[in-house]
Symmetry: C2
Subunit: 414 residues, 2 copies
C-alpha cells in the first residue's frame, strides 16, 4: 500500500479522488500496489464528503507523516502551492501536479530540488488536460531534436472561437455563454488574454529544450480583438482563426515563442479541433510531425493525467523521470527576425482612402501585398507577404502613429 495526500479539493482534486475510486481495480493491478488517500488538504469544509476524517486543514500534519510518499498538488497558484511542493520534494516525496502557473514560474528550481532529493516532480496534467503531451515529448519522442511545438492549448478560448464561427456570436456573447457553462471563470483574463496558453507553451518549450523558458519573455496576444469581420475574412480565405501557442526552436537551440491568434487553413489538422478540445503538434527532426488531441480541460480528463502520474510515481519511488530544466545561462530568446509569416491586417476605411492606406502600409511593411476586402466591406483587409515576427507589433504601432486605425492583425500559419 502506498499513501498519498491530495492538496486542494476543488474540481481537479475531487476528480483525482473519484478516478482512484472508480478505477481502483485496474489501477492497483497495473501498479502492483494499492494507492490510499490518507489526507485531503483544503481550508474549506466538506460536510458531505465521503472522505470524512481524511480532510485536514493544516499542511504540517501531512508534512510530518512519514507514511506519505506522494503529494498531489492540485490547489493552484504559486504561493502556498510553491511552499508545500518545495517542502515535500525536500523530504524526498514525489510531487504530482496540474498547476501550470507554478511549473511555468518555478519549474527549473523545483525540478532541481527533486533531482537533489532523488525524487520526481511530475506535471502531465499542467498542459493539455488529459492529453499525454508531457510524456509524449519527454519519453515518446525522446529520440528527436524538437524543432517546433504548436497548438491549441486553451479550451476556453477555443470554445469561444468555435461558437463565434458556428453560431455567429459576438465575442462578448460567446464569453458569457462559456462562463455560464463553467468553461470560463468569472474573471476570464488569464484565458482570453492568452496568459494561460503562454504558461503552457513555456512548459512545452522548456521540456523540448531543457532550458527553462519563462512566460514574461514572450509576445502574448489574446482573442479579445477578434470580430465577426475577421471570421468572415478567414472564411473567404478558406481558413479558420485559432488561438495558438507556438515555439520555433533554431538549430542552436534559440526559441521564438508567441501566443497569438493564427489564421490556419481548413485542411490543417488543427482546424477541426472544436470547443474545449486541445491539440498539440510536435515537429521532431526524425519523426516529422506528430499530433496529440483530446479534452484539454475538465474534471475527469485532467484527473486522468494526474492519476497516470501518481501511478508512475508509485511504481518508481526512486527518481526515474529524467526531466531537467536548467536556467538558461545565456540568452535563449530568438528575437524572431528570421521567423516569417504572412500577415492579415484589417484597417478602418473611415479615415483614409484605400490608396492612402496602401501607401502607408507599403512604406512600413514593404511592397508585397494583396487585397482581400470587397467594396461592400466597411474595412480594408490586406494580406502582407513574409513579415518577420520581430517587427510586427512595432510596425502596427508605426501605422497607428500615421493615423491608420488598425482594427486587427493576425498571423497566417503556413
Amino acid at each position: 500500500m502506498i499513501h498519498i495526500a491530495i492538496l486542494g479539493y476543488g474540481t481537479v482534486g475531487s476528480g483525482v479522488a473519484e478516478v482512484l475510486a472508480t478505477n481502483m481495480q485496474t489501477i492497483s493491478g497495473r501498479v502492483d500496489k494499492t494507492i490510499n488517500i490518507k489526507y485531503i488538504l483544503d481550508l474549506r469544509d466538506f460536510p458531505d464528503s465521503p472522505y470524512g476524517e481524511k480532510h485536514v486543514k493544516d499542511f504540517s500534519i501531512i508534512d510530518n507523516d512519514p507514511d506519505i510518499k506522494i503529494v498531489v498538488e492540485v490547489m493552484g497558484g504559486s504561493g502556498a502551492a510553491y511552499q508545500f511542493t518545495k517542502a515535500s520534494l525536500e523530504k524526498g516525496r514525489s510531487v504530482v501536479t496540474s498547476n501550470k502557473e507554478l511549473v511555468a514560474l518555478h519549474g527549473a528550481e523545483l525540478l532541481s530540488i527533486a533531482k537533489k532529493n532523488n525524487t520526481n516532480y511530475l506535471f502531465e496534467a499542467s498542459v493539455g488536460g488529459g492529453i499525454p503531451i508531457i510524456k509524449g515529448i519527454n519519453q515518446c519522442l525522446a529520440a528527436n531534436k524538437i524543432e517546433e511545438v504548436y497548438g491549441i492549448l486553451n479550451g476556453t478560448t477555443n470554445y469561444i472561437l468555435s461558437k463565434m464561427v458556428q453560431e455567429g456570436s459576438t465575442f462578448e456573447y460567446a464569453l458569457k455563454e462559456a462562463q455560464e457553462l463553467g468553461y470560463a471563470e468569472a474573471d476570464p483574463t488569464a484565458d482570453i488574454a492568452g496568459i494561460d496558453a503562454a504558461r503552457k507553451i513555456c512548459i512545452l518549450t522548456s521540456l523540448s529544450t531543457g532550458l527553462h523558458f519563462y512566460p514574461e519573455t514572450m509576445q502574448t496576444t489574446g482573442i479579445t480583438k477578434i470580430s465577426q469581420s475577421d471570421i468572415a475574412m478567414a472564411k473567404r480565405m478558406g481558413r479558420v482563426i485559432k488561438l495558438l501557442g507556438r515555439a520555433v526552436i533554431s538549430d542552436e537551440g534559440k526559441v521564438c515563442a508567441v501566443v497569438a491568434p493564427f489564421l490556419i487553413e481548413q485542411t490543417h489538422p488543427l482546424a477541426p479541433v472544436e470547443d474545449v478540445n486541445n491539440a498539440i503538434l510536435v515537429k521532431g527532426n526524425v519523426i516529422g510531425q506528430c499530433m496529440f488531441y483530446g479534452p484539454g480541460a475538465g474534471k475527469l480528463p485532467t484527473a486522468s493525467a494526474v492519476v497516470a502520474d501518481i501511478m508512475d510515481a508509485a511504481k518508481h519511488t526512486e527518481r526515474r523521470i529524467c526531466i531537467d530544466w536548467v536556467n538558461p545561462s545565456e540568452n535563449m530568446i530568438d528575437d524572431g527576425a528570421s521567423v516569417l509569416t504572412d500577415l492579415y491586417l484589417r484597417i478602418s476605411n473611415r479615415q483614409h482612402t484605400l490608396p492612402d492606406v496602401l501607401e502607408a502600409v507599403t512604406k512600413v511593411f514593404g511592397g508585397n501585398y494583396s487585397i482581400l476586402s470587397a467594396e461592400s466591406d466597411d474595412f480594408y483587409a490586406i494580406i502582407l507577404k513574409d513579415q518577420p515576427y520581430k517587427t510586427l507589433e512595432d510596425n502596427v504601432k508605426k501605422l497607428e502613429k500615421m493615423d491608420i486605425l488598425v482594427k486587427n492583425y493576425i498571423r497566417m500559419l503556413k
Copy 2:
C-alpha cells in the same frame, strides 16, 4: 556505454543506425550513457556501409557476447526473429522491435519470458510508425479502463483511398502508384486485405485488456472492393471511406474487433488524415476520447519509435515496463450481437427491379432502410439502420443466395 545489436539492416534497421548517429548528442544527454552499435546482423553484404566490421551474419556471435544489453529486432517475420528474440530475452537482454507480426502472434509468450528474466520486451514501433500509441495506452492513459480503440492503422491503404478520393483514380491505378513510390510492396496482400491492420488492432487490444487477442479471431475485410461508385455515394452522405481497425471492449472485458472499411463523417477527427499518415483514437472511461496522429510508416519515423524504446531500455536495464498479456483463460471474443452499425449496401441493378431488391433486403435485414441512389446510378445504394456486427456477413451471403448481387457493403461509423 551500453552495447546494442541490430538484427536486420533493411529500411528500419538502417534508419535506427542513422537516428542514433544524427541525434547522438541529444540521446546520450537524455540517457546519461552512450549507446554503441556493436553488431548489425544481416545475411546480405553491405560493401558501402559505414559500419564495416560491425556487420555479422551469424547470430551466435551476438548471442555469446556478454557485452550486449539490448537487442533491436527489426528483421521482420516470425521465424528467425522469433528464435533470436526468445534467446535474447532468456539471457536477460532487453529486446526492442518494430515487428508487428511477431508481437501479434507471440506477444503473450515473449512478454512472459521477459518477465521471468526481469527484462523488457518493447514494441512501440510495431503500431503507428512514429506515433507513440503503445506508451500512450500503456503509460499515459494507465488510469483509464479502455472502452474502445480505433483508427487508421495502415498507411498504404490510406494512401490508396486518399488518391481514389483526391484524383478519382481506380483502386488498381492508386495501388500501382503506391507501389512505384515504395509505399506498397510487390505483393501488397498484407496491406490491402487488412492483415497488417488486423495485427495492429490485435496489439492495441491486447495492451488495452491485458489478454492476448489473436488476429485469426477477428473479421478482416480489406479495400479491394471499393470503387469510385462507393466514393461518390460517400460524398453524397458527407462522408469519406477509411480502412479502420476497431475494437470495442465491453464492461466484462469481452472484445468485438474488426478491420473493415468504414464510412466516416467529414467532420470526424479521422476524416482529414490523408496519405500514409495514421491516427488512433482511444476512448477511456475517465479521459473520454483522445487521438494520436502522425506518420504511420517510413524509415525515420519508425526508427524514432525504435530509438525511444532503446533509450527506455538503456535507462532501465532492469524490468520496468509493466506489460503483461496473458492468454485468455476463457473466451474473450464478443460475437458482435450487441454492437450495432448503420450499413451501406450497394447492389447491382442489372438482375432485379428496386422493389424486388427491397423486398429481399427487408426480408434478410429487417425493415428500417433508406435509399441513397438516384435513378441515373447504375446500382441501388441502400442504408440499413442498426445492424448487429454479428450477422452482417451472413446476411450478405443470404442475399447473394437469393440472386441479389451485392457489389459492396460498408459499415457507417456513428
